[in-house]
């Protein structure tokens, strides 16, 4: 089996975030030594096929998280609609259908808070466009545990409420423009020793 991820890159977004998520995935190197986990607000009533259509497009498996799935390096995961996604101390995902937080399930806050507990400073979190403040409380927990937090520059976001709320949490939260976001994913996740699966 593939090794567990030494770094977790957590991306949260809502309205207006999808295009940028696709651009991020487009610019990823073939191999990266991290697990990338994307939590988008989406309606559970309509079974979307984000994962399978992106898998086809990028020619690599993009996984819809299922309960107790291991968190592995060089993998991309999406949180399923209708559930909160959490991470467990033994580096597996767990799902939860407790009440929505910030009217959202999945909630970015719930995910970020549990990532903070488990990955602590081995986490990079990024908050993208969105119309509510989900994710800001999660940033508080992440900052407390030493994780690096970034937001899409609010001026560039289609809807700035979510990244602005994230930016307002702490002076350690850094705004990134489009190019800085792309550069991070293109260049900073590569490893010196190239491994094959």
């Amino acid at each position: 089996m593939k090794p567990t991820a030494p770094l977790l890159v957590a991306i949260g977004g809502s309205a207006g975030a999808y295009e940028l998520v696709v651009a991020i995935l487009e610019n990823l190197p073939t191999y990266f030594d991290a697990a990338i986990v994307i939590v988008l607000h989406r309606n559970s009533k309509y079974e979307t096929r984000i994962e399978s259509s992106l898998s086809d497009r990028f020619g690599r498996e993009i996984r819809a998280i299922r309960d107790k799935m291991p968190i592995l390096t060089n993998e991309i995961y999406f949180a399923p609609p209708g559930y909160h996604t959490l991470v467990e101390p033994d580096f597996i995902f767990s799902l939860d259908v407790s009440d929505p937080v910030q009217y959202s399930r999945p909630s970015i806050d719930v995910f970020f808070e549990s990532v903070a507990d488990v990955y602590q400073d081995r986490c990079v979190a990024l908050l993208l466009s969105g119309a509510n403040k989900d994710g800001a409380n999660g940033f508080r927990a992440l900052i407390r545990h030493g994780a690096s937090c970034y937001v899409q520059q609010p001026g560039e976001a289609l809807i700035s409420t979510m990244p602005q709320a994230g930016l307002d949490v702490h002076s350690k939260v850094v705004p990134w423009n489009h190019q800085e976001i792309i550069n991070f994913f293109r260049n900073n996740l590569k490893t010196e020793t190239h491994e094959n699966d």
């Binding site: 009533k45 079974e47 998280i65 299922r66 309960d67 107790k68 799935m69 399923p80 559930y83 959490l86 991470v87 467990e88 101390p89 767990s94 799902l95 939860d96 259908v97 407790s98 009440d99 937080v101 910030q102 719930v110 808070e113 549990s114 507990d117 488990v118 409380n137 927990a141």
Partner: protein, 277 residues
């Protein structure tokens, strides 16, 4: 519901201390519960009650009735009628024809919470003229939610979502055939309620109590770690009649369990299995 400001956080070690205290003073054993989810629920109680971890331990040991309250609050009780309409479609098209071949039917809804799924199954069976020869057991560890289940009264505000689900599953009938609305609530009609028994059962510690042709346990195993999941899957296996069906939540994964060799996968996405040996 407005989110309360998070004031108390506990560590996984402190969570373990709480689990041990509860186990020592009661029959409740939460040691097989998924850690992060349980931790979040315990923190929620601490914030609601304005307690710290010392207060919580003290209350668990010394305050009459607090253990019960704690277990009620720490378990997740979110459910809906006809949740995942695609699942009910599949039941109607693929499973019902098979169930029709049994002369008597017993169904078990394990972890039924406030009962919505039990009534959904009763309605589905009634539509397919199977309900008269069926008996359904709805069980949960939480006796408070079972009282709501027994009453069978749900707020009208929720009925809209349930009706949407029902219409997605089956647009020929109307969900309102099965309930009577009054004031701001809807009560499930007597003919739907008649062949149902709600009772407490703890999946983490209790054993087989009957034999069933259909077991539903959807979005309960997500709260259990893999060891406890294995116990529960074995319990279901032992509780199922040969060729009986087991239905789990759509995002649950149990494919690594050895006992699954005794099941045929009916639908991998919807997590429906049939006991074949």
């Amino acid at each position: 519901m407005a989110q309360l400001k998070k004031i108390t956080e506990i560590s996984f070690e402190q969570l373990q201390e709480i689990v041990v205290v509860l186990k020592n003073v009661s029959d409740y054993d939460l040691s097989g519960y998924t850690r992060s989810s349980l931790k979040r629920r315990v923190e929620r109680i601490l914030n609601l009650e304005q307690m710290d971890i010392v207060d919580l331990k003290n209350a668990l040991i010394n305050t009459e009735g607090f253990k019960q309250y704690f277990v009620e609050e720490v378990t997740v009780n979110v459910t809906a009628m006809f949740r995942d309409p695609a699942f009910f479609n599949k039941l109607a098209t693929d499973i019902i024809p098979y169930l029709q071949t049994f002369p008597r039917l017993k169904a078990w809804c394990a972890g039924c919470s406030t009962g919505e799924e039990v009534y959904s199954i009763a309605i589905l069976l009634q539509e397919n003229k199977l309900y008269e020869r069926t008996f359904i057991y709805g069980t949960d560890v939480n006796s408070k939610v079972l009282e709501i289940a027994r009453r069978g009264i749900y707020p009208l505000s929720k009925l809209k979502e349930y009706t949407d689900n029902f219409n997605t599953y089956n647009s020929k009938e109307s969900l309102s055939t099965y309930y009577t609305a009054g004031y701001d609530g809807a009560i499930i009609n007597h003919d739907v309620r008649q062949n149902i028994l709600f009772s407490t059962h703890n999946l983490a510690t209790d054993h087989v109590f009957n034999e069933f042709h259909l077991i539903l346990c959807r979005n309960v195993l997500i709260y259990f770690d893999m060891e406890l999941q294995e116990r529960v899957i074995n319990l279901f296996y032992e509780s199922l009649a040969l060729f009986g069906f087991l239905c789990l939540g759509t995002k649950e994964t149990i494919l690594r369990q050895p006992v699954l060799d005794n099941f045929k996968v009916i639908d991998k996405e919807l997590n429906i299995y049939q006991k074949i040996r």
